[in-house]
Symmetry: D2
Subunit: 298 residues, 4 copies
């Protein structure tokens, strides 16, 4: 709606509107006075003293469309800079991806990079739908082509800000970089990534750190794992309370995805892209001779 | 140095200085031109084009003294508000704490809440010191007494900001809330925390979500696990490069902790405390009638 | 479009759209390649290397509709808190308002609080329209009912932030508080506002400081004068350059207000209102016992 | 104390301490319970409910030493970039500087660029000291060498942020750019700065706008006038109240400057310098091809 003229950005904020057409208020009448388990109904009521119980509230995943719009622009810029971001579904319940075939990610609706795993996962999800249940899963994300030196040294470490960005996506329950939790079981001699140089390039024999040292990118691949809880909306009977604090049983109606990770994949990529753009803008202000040259040639 | 007068804060920033007396520049001369593996030497050089190789730089854990100073003040306020933060070492390598005895945390230098585990861990660490090696581990942190309604709904979710705060501590490699990565293997019917009410109180049958729903505290205990990599400074020979990109072997001298989690415990508590204070200040501005009352009675 | 449900705000951002219907792109074709004198055409080109020359750009006063929308909400809240903001046109060229009749402000299109001055100003403006010219003027703004204690002590003094807010309105060239520039000619014995108390109230014999001491409100009326330059768009021939840096003559066509201060009146009130709301939200976090009470009763 | 190593900044915050040695607490005992007229004693008490009445509080001009420290570094950078900031005393009471001799500014303690005016002002100040009184004045500040294109288009216009920065200095009562308040009396045909070009350079026939168009620098000289109130501390008897709201008479003891503008000159220059540095850092992120080049060559 604004910010672009003759095919170029003008410096004015770029604004887009996505109208929420797939939204029927009366579908939500039955949850008006009741708190769905593991949903944000209760906490929103506590925070604001008032809740918009209809489907367009900010606790809905519909909120993430704005993240993906911004991410699409950020990714265009990053690609032009030689930086690529790739995410995929790495597990469905306890079915984990083994043999990675990146070309398969966009060939299946679950965004799994492996045909066999996709088939197993599909069978599992078919059963879950039949039993009105849902399942958790994990996603993997990698950043390639990012130069060394990106990230701030103290509170705004690259892994800290990526954690904030990704953990702000609904249903996330954990995040790790490089070896992650497995690093906690390693000895220094096993874990440390030894440097070596070849043809004037700085390389590492391993990448257990996942591409970040001291909160700053080291030029190697940045690797991230993210845990997602199961979809909270299930059609099995559950115990809960209503807004008068009476104990109730609830059965959530309507069609709900039994597995949300595939929908989170573009959101993860978008949040990473937005975060990296911010870092790059900050980073070019870090060396005074770089600033001087940029100012004089602006 | 400022901000306190007659035993009360004045509104002026509270400033303290901790002089870095335990610091001998020449100890660092041997690492002046060489990049220690899994240290930030290389990335700082790439970021700033210049590195203060002496022991007082910001990639040193000495930086965290400021966090603990601020955290001490934040914790005093939170305690007065009925909010408590407790962290401890929950594993050393693959030795995990089993039987929790909170009273034992401050009885041992490893901050482990279990005498047996402490003994096993001590034996492991004694061996590691002998072999000039180090080990990773995990910490656990819980917040009790926090009212429901704290946290922001979109980008600044409570788990997002706690992730940023904690992942900004050096050597962290992962963080999870509630069941965390285990949640990714659960069905909705297993994972969902069912509400019930008793004597006018809102309670949950389980706390798999770790006290946060939709990025906002739900009034139950907030539970966090954090992974730490092994201390990168080990005295075994390692491969690396120098600033001229020549391949070198390095043996890091001096006394280094083989295990850093105990030192991170007060830092975790401090970062959580600082984050919660910020949220509380923001939160009291969220209901207009609360703002009006506060303004008129200020 | 969002943020309000059942007549109440929900905590979600309140969004409105004002479509720019009164906008004909081809009217602007003649200024596509030329820099209008005292307009932002040249500086925008220098800043962004690219300019949207059509009438909807951000250098247009159309931008201020967003400020007035936000200000309308802010003023509703402030009125409920007992705080009132009033602005009017205080001079047109060198015709200055003498006898103030506040009830007349909304009775005339120039927002002048004086019938005689309005008549004189109208005669002046009629002549200016005939000669295709324009004129500058001043506005006055006062805040009544604001409690003492609002404002921050160092960089974000109340007068500093009000200056920023008001000087961000296009065409402003100066701002002053209380006696303003006249204060520079006074002796301390003439200028100082002496305190006295009556019936338990703190009062001042004069209000030369305009209600702000040390950057913080003192409970008396806050008084502000603002200078506006003449409308830059005039239909007289002017010298200028085009984007190829060739010297050119320009005659700006179309209907343009010869005097912009009346249109700035609601914008000034809005910017003041937005600024005060921010201060009040910040201020209720300044005393720890006030924070504690607000948190516990939230 | 930090941030500099081997004569270069390291990226770590540069910290300095200026110990407040010229400070005798008991000198302030007599104002412990009384509010000095036109001082911030009363408003601080209202804001914080508590006041550090000794001479080191933040309402003291001692606070500005930090601004001058930061400004000294900012000015070094700006000078290297070809940008110069110059401020001087332009009036003492109603004695205004006429014939400007910039070389004289640092030859006299009043920072006046005119020997005659300095003599007249000195005579005036000598009399004021005898009568225990003080006087207001104005300062002028100009920025030369700043490229066109610096400043943000909406809320953070260059004049808006400079206003905030300068109006945050204690004792300021007004600020204006270019013709300032005089612009309010001008016709468009008199005020508008006509562009012309010569030898490929963009020039203006006049500079009534003071170098800023639409909130963005136009490459010509930026000119600012600032009004200061008289020193509030005078030794004449004044009416005031004490903290128990009793009416009292006060005579402020001790040596106080009868005229504060000369002390404000380096503070003005510093605040302008700090503000410009921020703008330049922001500005180099405004064109994507400039960002790309800076990132790739970082």
């Amino acid at each position: 709606m604004s910010g672009v003229f003759n095919g170029k950005t003008t410096g004015t904020p770029i604004s887009l509107i996505v109208h929420n057409k797939d939204y029927i208020s009366k579908d939500y009448d039955n949850i008006k006075d009741i708190y769905r388990p593991s949903h944000a109904d209760f906490t929103y009521d506590k925070k604001y003293g008032f809740r918009d119980y209809r489907g367009g509230g900010r606790a809905s995943a519909r909120e993430t469309v704005a993240r993906v719009c911004a991410g699409a622009i950020a990714k265009k810029i990053l690609t032009d800079f030689g930086i690529n971001i790739l995410a995929y579904t790495s597990s469905v319940g306890n079915i984990k991806v083994k043999n990675i075939d990146l070309s398969y990610i966009n060939e299946n609706p679950l965004k799994i990079p492996c045909k066999d795993t996709f088939k197993k996962a599909t069978a599992l999800l078919d059963n879950l739908i039949k039993e009105n249940n849902s399942i958790g899963g994990t996603a993997y994300c990698e950043i390639t082509g990012l130069k060394a030196g990106i990230g701030e040294p103290v509170f705004e470490k690259l892994d800290a800000m990526l954690s904030m960005a990704i953990m702000s996506i609904g249903a996330t329950k954990g995040i790790e970089f490089g070896l992650g939790f497995l690093a906690s079981e390693k000895k220094g001699s096993e874990y440390n990534d030894n440097f070596y140089s070849k043809n004037g390039k700085v390389l590492k024999k391993t990448n257990n750190s996942g591409g970040i040292l001291g909160g700053i990118s080291d030029g190697s691949k940045i690797t991230i794992n993210i845990a997602f809880k199961p979809t909270p909306s299930i059609s099995l009977p559950q115990h809960t309370i209503n807004t008068s604090l009476e104990n109730k049983e609830i059965m959530i109606k309507g069609r709900h995805d039994p597995f949300i990770v595939p929908r989170a994949i573009p959101i993860i990529e978008s949040m990473v892209a937005i975060t990296l753009i911010d870092y790059i803008l900050v980073n070019i202000t870090k060396k005074i001779d770089c600033v001087k040259k940029a100012y004089l040639n602006f």
